[in-house]
């Protein structure tokens, strides 16, 4: 009886419970800083123009999206894949091969709305196959296999002239024009990258709490127990590679539209490792990490040159700064910049607020 009464008394709470569940599922919606960041990103074309809009923010969003695919695999699945940039590069090459470019002997001249889905599908298939190889291994061997795939693809593109255009690559790749808009003009293209990055970000965030994402985190924590709960662990890992490959492929399509060309230099082993650095520096525990890492990386890459020259050093040593930053992060904050931020927030809070005695995590 008392149970019935208490439910009758609480006529409104179910709504607020639903609201609480919603906030729990989407913590961003109650975070004023997140709204502020979203607002700034949307009105960015009013603040920044040309160079900043595309070279800094557009590039950050593209690299962040590619690094997001690594964050998904490494953070939720415990699989460090060094081939995410290779998958993106594969998609970029496929856009150039199936679409329109100056290399008329290579490009098939399909319209963008056919070439792009084709590129996404092929790159996803490519990444899934690579993943199917990689899931037979664990830890450092996963890194080695995916690095080997990345290196093999780099050398292959260098030497193959029939499809990949050799070391000069494929140039003057056409970008989409429709509804009377040239989508490669700075402002339009900025919104395209922002839209794709936002969709990928929210998709990863959403799936992390869906059965597929939860199971992936279970596989990360204890694959043997997952099998003893009825999960086909390897199938789950391959599916995670497929999903991450699709995100990386989206990043690759944006990248080829951004530079309007693709060459082996864009899929070099060094570039593959840059994606790992971006994800680790930003933090692989949350989907926002790769975007923060990408912003730091792009800012350093762009401005460290001037800064170093002013100090009397070789400007090309900007990687030295990135490397030092990487070392510092690995030493002091295994969960990247977002981990540092969370610990700082925690230390600012009064002691009584902390539910678990103050040990920060996740």
């Amino acid at each position: 009886m008392s149970l019935l009464q208490s439910t009758q008394l609480r006529a409104t709470p179910p709504a607020s419970a639903a609201r609480r569940a919603f906030i729990r599922a989407w913590p961003e919606f109650e975070n004023p800083a997140a709204w502020l960041v979203a607002l700034i990103l949307v009105i960015m074309p009013l603040i920044a123009s040309g160079f900043f809009l595309i070279e800094i923010f557009g590039t950050t969003l593209i690299l962040g999206t590619i690094a997001l695919s690594l964050m998904f695999l490494a953070g939720y699945g415990g699989m460090v894949s060094l081939m995410q940039l290779t998958i993106a590069g594969f998609a970029a090459y496929m856009v150039a091969v199936f679409g329109i470019s100056a290399n008329t002997n290579i490009s098939l001249g399909w319209p963008w709305w056919l070439a792009t889905p084709m590129a996404l599908a092929l790159a996803t298939a490519f990444g899934t196959l690579g993943g199917a190889l990689a899931v037979r291994t664990e830890g450092i061997y996963t890194i080695m296999i995916t690095l080997a795939i990345g290196a093999a693809f780099y050398y292959f593109t260098n030497q193959n002239w029939a499809i990949f255009g050799g070391h000069t690559g494929i140039n003057t790749v056409a970008t989409p024009h429709f509804w009377g808009i040239d989508w490669r003009t700075d402002i339009a293209f900025y919104y395209v990258t922002l839209g794709v990055a936002a969709i990928c970000y929210f998709a990863v965030q959403y799936i992390s709490r869906a059965p597929f994402g939860l199971a992936l985190q279970g596989v990360r924590d204890n694959p043997r127990r997952m099998a003893a709960l009825g999960f086909n662990v390897n199938a789950h890992r391959v599916a995670a590679y497929a999903f991450a490959s699709f995100i990386a492929a989206l990043g690759g399509v944006l990248q080829v539209w951004n530079y309007r060309q693709i060459s082996p230099g864009s899929v070099s082993v060094g570039a593959c490792i840059d994606v790992l650095i971006i994800a680790v520096v930003g933090g692989i525990t949350r989907p926002i990490g790769p975007f923060i890492g990408a912003l730091i990386f792009v800012l350093l890459r762009t401005f460290a040159l001037d800064f170093l020259v002013r100090l009397g050093l070789d400007g090309n040593r900007f990687r030295l700064l990135i490397g030092l930053g990487f070392l510092a992060i690995v030493f002091w904050s295994s969960d990247g910049v977002i981990g540092l931020w969370q610990r700082w927030r925690q230390s600012q809070r009064p002691r009584t607020d902390r539910p678990d005695g103050g040990r920060g995590h996740g």
Binding site: A21, A215, R220, A228, L229, G230
Partner: protein, 260 residues
Amino acid sequence: MDSVAQRLSAVGASAALELRGVTRLFGALAALTDVTFTVRPGERRAVLGSNGAGKTTLFNCITGDFPPSSGTIRFFGEDVTHFPPYERIRRGLRRTYQISALFPGLTVQDNVYLACRGVSRGRFSFLRPGQNDALMHAADNLVQAVHLSAVKDQRVAELAHGQQRQLEIALALAGAPRFVLFDEPAAGLSPTERAELIEILTSLPAHIGYIIIEHDMDVALRVVESVTMMHNGRVFKEGLPQEIQSDPEVQELYLGGGHE
């Protein structure tokens, strides 16, 4: 043993678990040698034996964590010897681990939810469970059954040892278990927690049989109706709890002089 006969007819199969000549080698070392026994549906049995007797290896062979080197394993009449673990679990087999095998990065609720999801459809679903998701309710009920409702939103890494042991049991009871392997569920529990464990085990539905590995005879003999004694990877003796307890050879081997 009337109750056993009743359970038997209720389930309608002659054997829940049937092992024939199961042998498991680790290199030259035989961890299990020619183990043959049958457990009826609904039967509750203890496996006793000293360290290295092969008890946990036996569990690993039954669940497929390590396949046997030779021999056959039938689960409710079906030959599952070469099945991967997840196929056996989907058929109603469950197990717990001697050292808690949980998901420390996830909450208690998520741990149990995963266990419920693992033995149902939609393991790859990209859609978040809604407010009225049946598996969420099933998970809630399981969390309640093992007295963990108060900590259901805490990460498992933050739980006390006894709570982790209880969660370990909850994971094994998700879905519709037909037969459960409990690997030392009482290890490291306080007397109060042991009493709760006994209550959980004895209040399981009658059609769910289990094998329990347990060193604590007070726990083991209160929750089982038959006992298999193992020694050096072989079945040494089988019988009723009283018979095994009073068997002079068993006392010599296992109980030492303490029970004289």
